[in-house]
């Protein structure tokens, strides 16, 4: 029956294709000249160039983190193309979008031509590094919501960007955040003004396209007093043999009584079944609950990338603020994931909740790493963490690294962890009742992930369920 398991684990990546679109590329390598080129190409103001250069100079003094439980050959940062954009075009409507590009999205199932299906979802499409199409912008503008590429935001709303960019993830925060701050080319910007509840889910699809082009998105979401927004991010990438570095930075800011919900389904190329190729996903995501009674909730379903290094975190500064992290991380073949969260409690009566579900199949390694930090002023802070691991087959690994630092005696911190294995006996029990392996795995996995899937917006939950089934097709015996 392990051959059935192998078949399921060894499904080829279905989104592996390259779209032949002419790209406007910078030469390979990184130096101040390249950064000035990026900034000039984007006609950026001086303060942003300074921001980039300062980050770059800081980055030069830093070393790659060695603590994650992942292994990969040293990255040659001079062998990466830092700027690559589709040829600039003025697009009056969706009809003018390159048909090749539209076909790519169709293959991926990005619902650009199927808006009926996704009624109510605005899709800000990022292709390589430049935003080429934005929908529903008008409708959002009517209620005062700004939803555009970060380049447009720099041009049209420079004060907002300048005020918040780097305010949650400082330029020198970590190696990859510094790199991103120096070379980011595009990303999304979202601003929900005071008292506005965003009338629809905001959604962005990312896709890396040019071979060996690094992708450095920058996302900034701000919810003012009493505002709320639900943001969805979904990713896929074509199949390449050379590794692709992805180092994004996402910053969220929630002011008094504001709420931000950020959901991700990630399905980047994970390398083939022998561990060749795949995306290195080194991402810094952090939310700042700046105001009282604010709330930030991260939900992620991580199924792709050769290496995932990602800790969507919350800084609970405002009194009574709430941080949440719901995660499903699935690894297969030779994939490595070191992912988790940091909940930093600073304000009083702050609460955080961590639900992490790791699924490891094949020869993959899946680590949860989480920090719960209760500061000295965080009276009555509470945290609840639950970290469950599921192993499929006998060659996969799971680790849990929970760090807890408490500096206030009134805090209450709870941590629970379990490890289980999908075994042959379970599969046989299903089979003896007429249920085939794939349905059985899907049922077990969905049961295992239920607490996380419940947090996803409906259409994403359906997509996530399908995706996990697809990734594990043929894999359990």
């Amino acid at each position: 029956m392990s051959s059935v398991l192998d078949k399921l684990v060894n499904q080829p990546y279905r989104h592996g294709f390259v779209t032949p679109i002419e790209a406007d590329k910078a030469p390979k390598g990184l130096n101040e000249g390249v950064i000035r080129l990026i900034s000039a190409k984007k006609r950026e103001p001086d303060w942003l160039l300074e921001f980039r250069l300062k980050s770059y100079r800081h980055w030069l003094t830093m070393a790659e983190p060695a603590w994650p439980n992942v292994k990969y050959p040293k990255i040659d940062f001079q062998d990466i193309i830092y700027y690559s954009a589709p040829k600039p075009k003025k697009l009056a409507s969706m009809d003018e979008v390159d048909p090749e590009l539209l076909r790519t999205f169709e293959k991926l199932g990005v619902p650009m031509n199927e808006r009926a299906k996704l009624a109510g979802v605005a899709v800000d499409v990022i292709f390589d590094s430049v935003s080429v199409a934005t929908t529903y912008k008008q409708k959002l503008a009517e209620v005062g919501i700004l939803f555009c590429s970060i380049s447009e935001a720099v041009r049209d709303h420079p004060d907002l960007v300048r005020k918040y960019l780097g305010s949650v993830v400082p330029t020198g925060d970590n190696y990859y955040a510094a790199l991103n701050s120096a070379v980011f080319t595009d990303g999304s910007f979202c601003f929900i003004p005071k008292g506005v509840k965003c009338p629809m889910e905001l959604s962005t699809y990312f896709r890396i396209n040019t071979e060996s082009s690094g992708q450095f998105e920058r996302t900034l979401i701000i919810a003012e007093e009493g505002a709320s927004v639900s943001y969805l991010e979904g990713c896929t990438a074509p199949k390449f043999d050379s590794n692709q570095l992805h180092a994004a930075v996402v910053e969220l800011v929630a002011l008094d009584d504001a709420e931000i919900k950020y959901s991700t389904v990630q399905n980047w190329f994970a390398g083939d079944e022998n561990g060749v190729g795949g995306v290195y996903n080194f991402v810094t995501k952090r939310g700042l609950c700046k105001g009282r009674n604010s709330k930030i909730s991260w939900t992620q379903v991580e199924t792709g990338s050769a290496i995932t290094w990602k800790y969507p975190s919350c800084v609970l500064l405002g009194d009574n603020s709430i941080g949440e992290f719901y995660s499903v991380a699935l690894t297969n073949h030779h994939q490595q994931a070191d992912t988790g969260t940091k909940m930093t409690h600073i304000g009083r009566n702050t609460r955080s909740r961590i639900i992490s579900k790791g699924i490891s199949a094949g020869q993959s390694n899946n680590s949860y790493r989480g920090l719960v930090k209760i500061g000295p002023r965080a009276e009555n802070a509470r945290n609840y963490s639950q970290c469950d691991s599921m192993l499929i087959g006998s060659k996969s690994g799971a680790n849990t690294f929970p760090y807890i630092q408490v500096q206030n005696a009134s805090a209450r911190v709870e941590h629970e962890a379990t490890t289980s294995r999908i075994g042959e006996e379970q599969m046989f029990y299903f089979a003896s009742r007429g249920i085939g392996t794939e349905e059985a795995v899907s049922m077990i996995i969905n049961g295992f992930c239920r607490d996380v899937f419940q947090q996803l917006p409906m259409e994403f939950a359906v997509e996530a369920t399908k995706l996990l089934g697809l990734k594990l097709e043929g894999s359990v015996g």
């Binding site: 042959e424 046989f428 029990y429 089979a431 003896s432 009742r433 249920i435 049922m443 049961g447 239920r450």
Partner: protein
């Protein structure tokens, strides 16, 4: 009742089975006809459970010889799930726990799978809930079992009852119950026996694999087979079971 003219459901000839490198079943013959109840008895290690697992197709039980036909089809060519869909059922000795999967969702999926094969309508969750609760009431079972995860944290008795509930829901044509009576208190035993009794119709058959004859106080077998050394050593009626209870197994072995 014995029905020598009835349709043959299961025909086992010269079956040999290896588990973990050792041959456990060494040439077993058995014919089960519709409407019959068979008891397969024998001491520990005689090959009873191995026989049961091999018939339903457990991957760790390797059939190395002999033939098994089910309703005229070569059972050994069928995947375990196909065997189940064709109406074969195993009541497990040690049902496995499946945390996170709701018992009712699991049973509904299994039920609908079999229903689809039989060309009958599937039940939606509400319909299935009514249907399952009805069966549970009939069997005198606690409907709370439906809302829990499959066998997760169930007591030994609850697990066995859960097996019988599935048998009652799926209405298999041939049910093999592997030591379903072991570890049960007298009330649970009655529930289980009651469920088995209800299943026996002129179209179906039951094979009870058991160590003790106490289950047979509730269900009268048409045939009692005594296994030893991987084969059936002796076949008789209910009286044989009583004799075994009184004298043990050694004399059968000595006589064989």
């Amino acid at each position: 009742m014995k029905r020598p003219d009835a349709r043959v459901l299961l025909e086992v000839r010269g079956l040999r089975v290896r588990v973990g490198g050792a041959e456990i079943v060494k040439g077993l013959d058995l014919t089960v006809r519709a409407g019959e109840v068979h008891a397969v008895m024998g001491p520990n290690g005689s090959g009873k459970s191995t026989f049961a697992k091999a018939v339903v197709g457990h991957p760790l039980y390797e059939v190395t010889g002999g033939t098994v036909e089910y309703e005229g089809r070569n059972l050994l060519d069928m995947a375990p799930e196909e065997r189940a869909r064709a109406g074969l059922f195993l009541g497990f000795q040690y049902p496995v726990e499946i945390p996170g999967v709701s018992n009712s969702a699991f049973m509904r999926l299994a039920y609908n799978t079999v229903q689809a094969v039989r060309g009958r309508d599937e039940l939606d969750p509400l319909e299935f809930d009514d249907f399952a609760r009805g069966k549970m009431k009939l069997l005198g079972m606690d409907p709370g079992l439906l809302d829990r995860s499959v066998n997760d944290g169930f007591s030994g008795g609850e697990k066995k009852r859960n097996e019988i509930l599935q048998m009652a829901l799926f209405e298999p044509r041939l049910a093999i119950l592997d030591e379903t009576d072991s570890g049960l208190d007298i009330d649970a035993l009655r529930v289980v026996a009651n469920g088995v009794g209800r299943l026996v119709t002129p179209g179906n058959a039951v094979v009870l694999v058991t160590h003790y004859q106490r289950m047979l106080n509730y269900i009268e077998p048409d045939y009692v087979h005594v296994m030893g050394g991987g084969r059936i050593l002796k076949t008789g009626g209910k009286a044989l079971a009583e004799e075994l209870e009184a004298r043990g197994y050694d004399w059968v072995k000595a006589a064989a």
